[in-house]
């Protein structure tokens, strides 16, 4: 039996460092190549030596697919391609290809310049790596080689995020990457057609959560910002530069527009500006509203949101500032926070999760006095709000995607083991498909039904389909023919042709069967009764009563003789050829039931 093997190098029962190896029909594909945020040693990258101990990776992998630009999905790419050495094709969507190097460069700067690490990839390596990238469009089928083809589907989540359908022959795998089934202010919802893959590899970050309507969250967020601004307070929103930041910007921008508000909104500069540029470009990847209105005005050309300057923080009056990084652990957001923390009119809104130990986490857990460096004590009087804006599919969303794609097997990655367990059970219960959740380095093997193509001549096909009633054409159909296996190919040919080709003589095979019927009447009367009976039942067949006292149904012969011992029993002789086996056996069973009483 052919099989699909899946081995997560990262993201198996874990979040971060997504990297999954799939071998499908002799092809090896690597899905994502991410880094782990939590580690600073070798563990941050997947263990590529698993793939091959000695020998080049290029020989083992047919292609690498990157689902989106988040670092836990593409962070290890330059290391993998330049330092470990991989020269094969890397596939990603256009927006990902555009934004990914910016993030990689940023990541490199932080690790090398700030933390002073050596033996890390260089800017040149990022560039070289990006040269190996082949960009794909949505729904474009890309032929990697003769047999392997991939196709991208829209995944929501972040700009350019895609799900990939990987197909070799008739075996296929869908890898979702991260996706979002509910649309947000700037991106649409993930969508896939009923492609019925053998395996669906899905993320499961929110495997045990069903989220509230996003509208409540948005309304809350806007209300809080609006109230603070009306009071004359300042609002600080620490964000990471890409993804949620854009959503919040659009949200505030449209709100400002609608409500005719005048208070300034600032966005800390740098990396964001470059990224915003790409958001403007890739309009087709955004949601319906933005796509429809961009002719009049590109929503990402913000009217109310301006670049932030350090000096603005001291300006009087209300303002809203988006500042990086998102967890208030360093940089601009922390600086602004320190300036504004003392005033109870101000507010800080944390739009995402904060890691333990960061200032963000401390204030969220209710700490009002913070010890800053230099033994300073900072008293936090400003309001602290938490607002979760996350772009992963929740449990319902995951189920919805499974329903859309109708896979034969499901494999969960990118989530916590405990939560996966729950979802796994649900999936098996609801859809009756088997579900897997391998840990890192653990290989899952999935058996697939092989499909074997057989050639059939058109003449035979037409002849065979013409027989029998039409409407149930969707059901499997019985066909008569001879299967010839020759020269590594299968052919279905008509028996005559097969005989001719093989140089064999034809043999007739005939079945005869005797059926005993209790009937005291004369032979010809019995025959007549049988004839009438059959005629009554088999309306669609030609039933004939021949002058010699026998009956033919199509080519089946029925003769009646009286039993030699018991005149009351008639023996019906039914005889048919092998080709009429179906009808013949039906007839016998019919006759065995006896004739109807009366007349």
């Amino acid at each position: 039996m052919p099989e699909i093997k899946v081995t997560p190098l990262g993201a198996g029962q874990d979040v971060g460092r997504s990297c999954i190896l799939v071998s499908i029909a002799g092809k090896n594909v690597m899905l994502d190549c991410g880094m782990h945020m939590g580690y600073n040693d070798d563990r941050r990258f997947p263990d590529f030596s698993y793939i091959t101990q000695n020998g080049r990776l290029t020989d083992f992998l047919d292609c690498v697919i990157i689902s989106h630009f988040h670092l836990d999905h593409c962070g290890a790419l330059p290391y993998f391609s330049e330092m470990v050495g991989y020269d094969g094709p890397i596939y990603m969507t256009h927006p990902t290809k555009a934004i990914c190097p910016i993030l990689l460069e940023d990541y490199r700067k932080i690790t090398v310049d700030k933390k002073g690490e050596t033996n890390f990839f260089t800017s040149q390596m990022i560039k070289d790596c990006m040269k190996k990238v082949v960009a794909v469009h949505l729904h474009q089928t890309v032929q990697v080689d003769e047999e392997l083809e991939i196709k991208a589907y829209y995944a929501g989540h972040v700009l350019g995020a895609a799900m990939f359908h990987i197909k070799v022959g008739c075996e296929s795998v869908v890898y979702t990457g991260d996706y979002n089934m509910t649309p947000d202010r700037h991106l649409g919802a993930a969508w896939i057609d009923k492609c019925r893959p053998d395996l669906l590899i899905s993320e499961s970050t929110y495997a045990t959560t069903i989220r509230d309507s996003k509208r409540c969250r948005e309304r809350d967020f806007l209300k809080k910002v609006h109230e603070t601004v009306e009071r004359g307070g300042k609002v600080l929103i620490p964000v990471f530069a890409l993804g949620r930041a854009q959503e919040l910007c659009i949200l505030l921008e449209t709100f400002w527009e609608r409500m005719n508000l005048k208070a300034p909104i600032y966005f800390s500069t740098g990396l964001t500006e470059k990224a915003n540029h790409y958001y403007k470009l890739f309009i087709t990847w955004t949601n319906q509203k933005i796509r429809k209105t961009f002719v009049q005005r590109n929503m990402f050309e913000f009217k109310h949101i301006k670049a932030f300057d350090r000096a603005f923080a001291d300006n009087p009056g209300p303002m809203v500032v988006f500042a990086t990084p998102g967890m208030l652990h360093a940089g601009q957001s922390l600086q602004i926070f320190r300036k504004w923390a003392g005033n109870e009119k101000n507010m800080v809104i944390m739009p995402g999760y904060c890691v333990q130990g960061t200032v963000g986490h401390k204030i969220l857990s209710g700490q009002r006095k913070l010890e800053m460096e230099g033994r300073q004590i900072l008293e936090v009087k400003m309001q602290v709000e938490y607002m979760s804006f996350s772009a992963h599919a929740d449990a319902k969303g995951i189920m919805q995607l499974i329903r859309q794609a109708e896979p034969r097997n499901v494999l969960l990655v990118h989530g916590e083991a405990k939560k996966m367990e729950f979802l796994k059970q649900k999936i098996e219960q609801e859809f009756h498909v088997s579900c897997f959740m391998p840990a890192n380095g653990e290989t899952t093997t999935i058996l697939t039904n092989p499909c074997i193509p057989v050639d059939i001549s058109l003449g035979l096909l037409k002849r065979e389909t013409a027989i029998g009633p039409g409407p149930d054409a969707k059901k499997p159909k019985l066909m008569h023919g001879t299967l010839l296996m020759k020269d590594n190919s299968f052919r279905l040919v008509s028996p005559e042709q097969a005989l001719k080709e093989l140089g064999l003589a034809e043999h007739q095979l005939r079945f005869t069967c005797r059926v005993h019927i209790q009937d005291p009447r004369k032979e010809h009367e019995t025959v007549l009764r049988v004839y009438n009976h059959l005629k009554g039942i088999l309306k669609d067949y030609s039933v004939q009563h021949l002058p010699d006292g026998s009956i033919t149904v199509e080519s089946i012969l029925i003769q009646a003789t009286a039993h030699s011992e018991d005149q009351g029993t008639k023996v019906l002789l039914v005889s048919w050829t092998y080709q009429d086996e179906e009808l013949g056996s039906y007839l016998t069973s019919l006759l065995k039931k006896g004739l109807p009483q009366g007349t």
């Binding site: 959560t209 069903i210 509230d212 806007l222 609608r258």
Partner: protein, 969 residues
């Protein structure tokens, strides 16, 4: 020699050309000959190749064929059909057959047999499909002939086994459209095809081709539409189709399920995988709900729309659609809505939320959580959050319909509707506000909900704000804080968008009259009165203060204790507002006030309203003036007109009536004045000045009559006749004046002729009304008609003059409802000092925003006029889509006007105004022609000669400062 040669050449050349020309023209002649069939026959015979023949047929198809020759043409076509080898030509012939049998007046019985015969030997699938289509056309043309239909259905059944999807498609379509609907017919025919059509179609639900499956479902729906009761057995089949791979199949299946659920709502169906049974309508509801999260948005829209019309569904199921069980880390979580509700019911006001406020509470039994239920769970939650706004709108509409029929559901869906007020697409927001208004009878807003609703008041879109005001007009608020909140937000809105003034006042009027008891405790605060100290008197012109007063006075109407809380100036302000904003301030019974006596007890019906009484009384007075001397009449008229105009200003509901009568009296006054001129006694040329006055009067009367006829909605034929009569008088006046001022008789001939024609057409149009017009001008005129026709123009003029003087003043009966069309240009405001600069020769777009009231068919009649300082006028017809209809009798025009001009040296003002176009052809007297057939029947009607088109300005002009700059080179 050379010249001669040249000539020869030319001669020859011209000859050749001429011959060709002849040839061509003969061919043309033949084509247009009445006998089409012959021409076609010749053409087709001439055709050497299939392509040629096809060309001929295409040409032929462009021209209509007369009914008489259809059959002949069909025969020719059929003849060629059998001869033709090329499939494309046969296809064209087949389609032509269908086209021809559609010809009005032609009965296709005679060609049925031939058409069916053609099917026999046809091999090409495309042609077959086309032929079946033709048969379908023939069948639909013969609704009275069941036997033919039967035959056609039989033929279709035979071809159902065809291997091409196109043919099967058409067969199913034909069966759907022509299949026997009544059971009786099927039994009579007793033929094979009369087998249950439903079964035949049902068999094709499982066809291998999705297009055929769709066609089968559509055919089934078609049968349903034609009145066949579908069998319940189809239901399970249809349910299977919901999981089809193709969206069009799913979409059609959803419809079929809906139809079945309406047919058999109470049947019981088993739930698979359990022993329980539920009502069919509930099951279908659950299934359609499921489709709201389908992969294709077309199906989602379809499903969401249909949900709205499933009112028989049990409330238990209905409420599930709004329920999406939240959980977080496997623990049950409350929705934000539930939290808000709890906060509210515990009496605590929303505190600054802490992180983890929504922390999940109870553990969930993992087995019990059903992530994708087959039930209705959360269908609307999904639908309202959908990516496509089409789905969201459909969901909102469905919510609206369901909520209207179920108060408890209305209560539940409130939170979701309120959430939709923040949708990113304006259309959706607007739709949800309207929906909320429609269901507002069933609901009472909680404070936190009101808060969210009111937040939208700051929206920059006027449409949204106005819709919201409408909503607030009919909302129930539960607490006095709510009222206060609403007032504060409305006042905020007022300061931000002063143009909303009227709308806000109106909103507060209703808010006050709906919640008198809630307003009562707020009064001291709102009026800022103090028990001991006198507070400064607020500014009477402050719109915000007026808004507060409107709220209070309307509440005071049904709350007699309230006036006790008023301070002195409040009473004064009341008197002032009652006078100036009478439509917003109701009459109050105030202690120690004169008004108390005049304020009528509520038992008196509005018909006996004092103002109405006054109107009628003053009219009575006017109509009885016959006995007065001319001076007295004039004075009386003048006073009455003044009174009526004032009344119109005071009583908005009577404004139309008062204005209408005032205009009429004005006409009469003008007529009397004109007739009193001395010029009539003196030789004409000496009194040019008075003459100008009289002719001006005649002109003005004409204008006013057009206004009366076309500017008021609710004018009945009784009024129209009087208006026309007045117009006739004005025309007579015009004629007399011209007769007296011009010398020579020639021009008069024409005028007299025309006038007499008009009298004649008046008589024809209003023959039924004539008995009511005893002693009037026209009455007398008609008596004299025989004399008039024969006499000379000077005679005619003389007769007219005397009749005009002697004729009585006609009593103008008033209709029940009369409204004057008004328009108000909101934008441009005309206050800007900044000229609109643009390069000359190019265009600049000026946004025009106006409200129209009581305009009938604004799309056809309202125009925008732009007057340039050089006297040039431009008339713009706004697109029909620019008109919106926010309420009955009200319209809103939002359009763009393109301006352009040559360069000016300095900025100057242009005038923009709205005009009401009228056409006396389309007057109310002649039978009103429905819009759809208007263009056709217009050709049929002879254009009447007195059809005058014109425009009436009906809005105040607005000035816009513009500056076309010379183009830079």
């Amino acid at each position: 020699m050379a010249a001669h040669l040249k000539k020869r050449v030319y001669e020859e050349f011209t000859k050749v050309v001429q011959q060709q020309h002849e040839d061509l023209s003969t061919k043309k002649l033949r084509l247009t000959k009445p006998s089409k069939s012959a021409a076609l026959h010749v053409d087709l015979c001439k055709a050497t190749s299939p392509a040629d023949a096809l060309q001929y047929l295409l040409q032929f198809a462009r021209k209509p064929v007369e009914v008489e020759s259809v059959e002949g043409v069909v025969r020719i076509l059929l003849e060629h059909y059998y001869k033709e080898n090329d499939a494309s030509v046969r296809l064209k012939i087949a389609s032509l057959l269908g086209l021809l049998s559609k010809t009005a007046g032609f009965s296709p019985d005679c060609i049925v047999d031939d058409a069916i015969n053609t099917l026999q030997n046809e091999k090409s699938h495309q042609v077959l499909a086309q032929l079946l289509d033709t048969l379908l056309v023939i069948g639909t043309k013969l609704p009275e002939n069941p036997s033919v239909r039967m035959r056609l259905v039989e033929v279709a059944c035979k071809h159902l086994t065809d291997s091409s999807h196109g043919v099967r498609n058409k067969c199913l379509q034909l069966i759907g459209c022509l299949g026997p609907v009544e059971k009786g017919v099927a039994k009579e025919a007793e033929s094979q095809a009369a087998k249950d059509v439903q079964k035949i179609i049902g068999d094709h639900f499982n066809d291998q081709d999705p297009r055929v499956r769709t066609a089968a479902i559509k055919a089934m729906l078609q049968l349903h539409e034609r009145g066949l009761k579908l069998q319940q057995a189809i239901y399970s089949q249809a349910c299977k189709l919901l999981a089809d791979d193709y969206e069009q199949v799913r979409s059609a299946a959803v419809q079929l399920i809906w139809v079945l659920s309406q047919l058999y709502p109470e049947s019981i169906v088993p739930i698979p995988s359990s022993n329980e049974e539920i009502r069919l309508v509930d099951d279908a509801f659950g299934k359609i709900c499921h489709m709201v999260s389908d992969g294709s948005w077309v199906v989602r829209v379809q499903a969401a729309k249909l949900l709205g019309s499933m009112q028989q569904v049990s409330s238990h199921f209905l409420e599930q659609t709004l329920d999406k069980k939240l959980m977080s880390d496997l623990r049950r979580k409350r929705t934000a809505h539930e939290r808000a509700k709890e906060l509210y019911s515990s009496g605590e006001f929303s505190s600054g939320r802490k992180w983890g406020d929504d922390a999940p509470k109870e553990e969930i039994d993992t087995g019990a959580v059903n992530l994708i239920e087959s039930g209705a769970c959360g269908a609307f939650v999904h639908g309202l959050e959908d990516e496509m706004y089409e789905v969201r709108i459909a969901a909102v509409e469905a919510l609206c319909m369901l909520a209207q029929s179920s108060p408890s559901f209305a209560e539940k869906c409130l939170d979701f509707l309120v959430d939709m007020f923040n949708d990113e697409i304006e259309e959706v927001r607007l739709q949800s506000i309207h929906t909320m208004r429609k269901i507002s009878n069933n609901i009472t807003l909680r404070e936190d909900q009101l808060d969210t609703v009111l937040a939208v008041l700051e929206d920059s879109s006027r449409d949204i704000r106005e819709a919201l005001h409408e909503l607030l007009c009919c909302t129930n608020v539960s607490t006095k804080e709510g009222i206060h909140l609403a007032l504060v937000e409305l006042l905020k809105n007022l300061t931000k968008y002063p143009t909303d003034r009227e709308s806000i006042w109106k909103c507060l009027k209703f808010l006050g009259s709906r919640h008198p008891t809630l307003v009562l405790p707020l009064v001291p605060e709102l009026l800022s009165t103090h028990p001991f100290f006198d507070t400064p008197e607020p500014d009477m012109d402050d719109p915000a203060y007026i808004a507060v007063l409107v709220l209070i006075f309307n509440a005071a109407k049904s709350c007699p204790t309230m006036p006790a809380l008023f301070s002195d100036h409040t009473f004064r302000h009341y008197a002032y507002l009652r006078d100036s904003l009478s439509h917003l301030v109701p009459p109050l019974r105030l202690p120690g006030r004169k008004l108390m006596s005049s304020a009528v007890s509520p038992s008196i019906t509005p018909h006996e309203d004092p103002s109405q009484q006054f109107l009628h009384q003053s009219l009575e007075r006017v109509y009885n003036f016959q006995h007065l001397d001319p001076r007295g009449i004039q004075e009386l008229l003048e006073f009455t007109i003044r009174d009526l105009q004032r009344l119109g200003e005071l009583q908005s509901e009577l404004a139309g009536m008062a204005d209408f009568t005032a205009t009429y009296l004005q006409c009469q006054l003008l007529l009397i004045k004109a007739l009193q001129e001395k010029l009539w006694n003196v030789a004409a040329p000496l009194y040019l000045k008075q003459n100008a006055l009289a002719s001006a009067a005649a002109k003005q009367i004409l204008e006013e009559t057009y206004k009366m006829e076309f500017m008021y909605s609710g004018v009945e034929s009784r009024q129209v006749v009087i208006i026309h009569h007045m117009r006739l008088q004005a025309k007579a006046l015009q004629l007399i004046v011209t007769a007296r001022t011009t010398r020579g008789v020639e021009p008069l001939f024409g005028m007299c002729e025309k006038f007499l024609q008009e009298v004649d057409s008046f008589q024809r149009c209003f023959i039924s009304e004539l008995p009511h017009m005893q002693g009037s001008f026209v009455d007398k005129l008609l008596d004299l008609m025989p004399r008039l026709v024969t006499s000379k123009p000077s005679e005619v003029v003389k007769i007219l003059q005397t009749t005009l003087r002697q004729s009585t003043f006609l009593h103008l009966p008033l209709p029940e409802q009369l409204h004057r069309a008004t328009a108000n240009i909101i934008e441009p405001t005309g206050e800007s000092d900044n000229p609109l600069r643009f390069t000359s020769g190019l265009v600049v777009a000026l946004d025009v925003d106006a409200t129209l009231e009581h305009v009938q068919d604004p799309q056809g009649t309202v125009k925008v006029q732009v007057l340039y300082p050089d006297g040039q006028a431009q008339l713009i017809h706004p697109k029909p889509a620019d008109f919106r209809n926010p309420g009955p009798g009200r319209h809103r025009l939002i359009t763009q006007v393109y301006l352009s001009h040559t360069a000016w040296t300095e900025p100057c003002q242009i005038e923009v105004r709205l005009l009401l176009a009228y056409n006396s052809n389309r007057s109310k007297a002649s039978t009103r022609i429905p819009k759809s057939t208007w263009s056709e029947s217009l050709e049929a009607l002879p254009p009447s000669e007195n059809g005058i088109e014109g425009t009436i300005p009906f809005s105040k002009p607005v000035k816009v400062y513009i500056m076309p700059k010379p183009a830079r080179r």
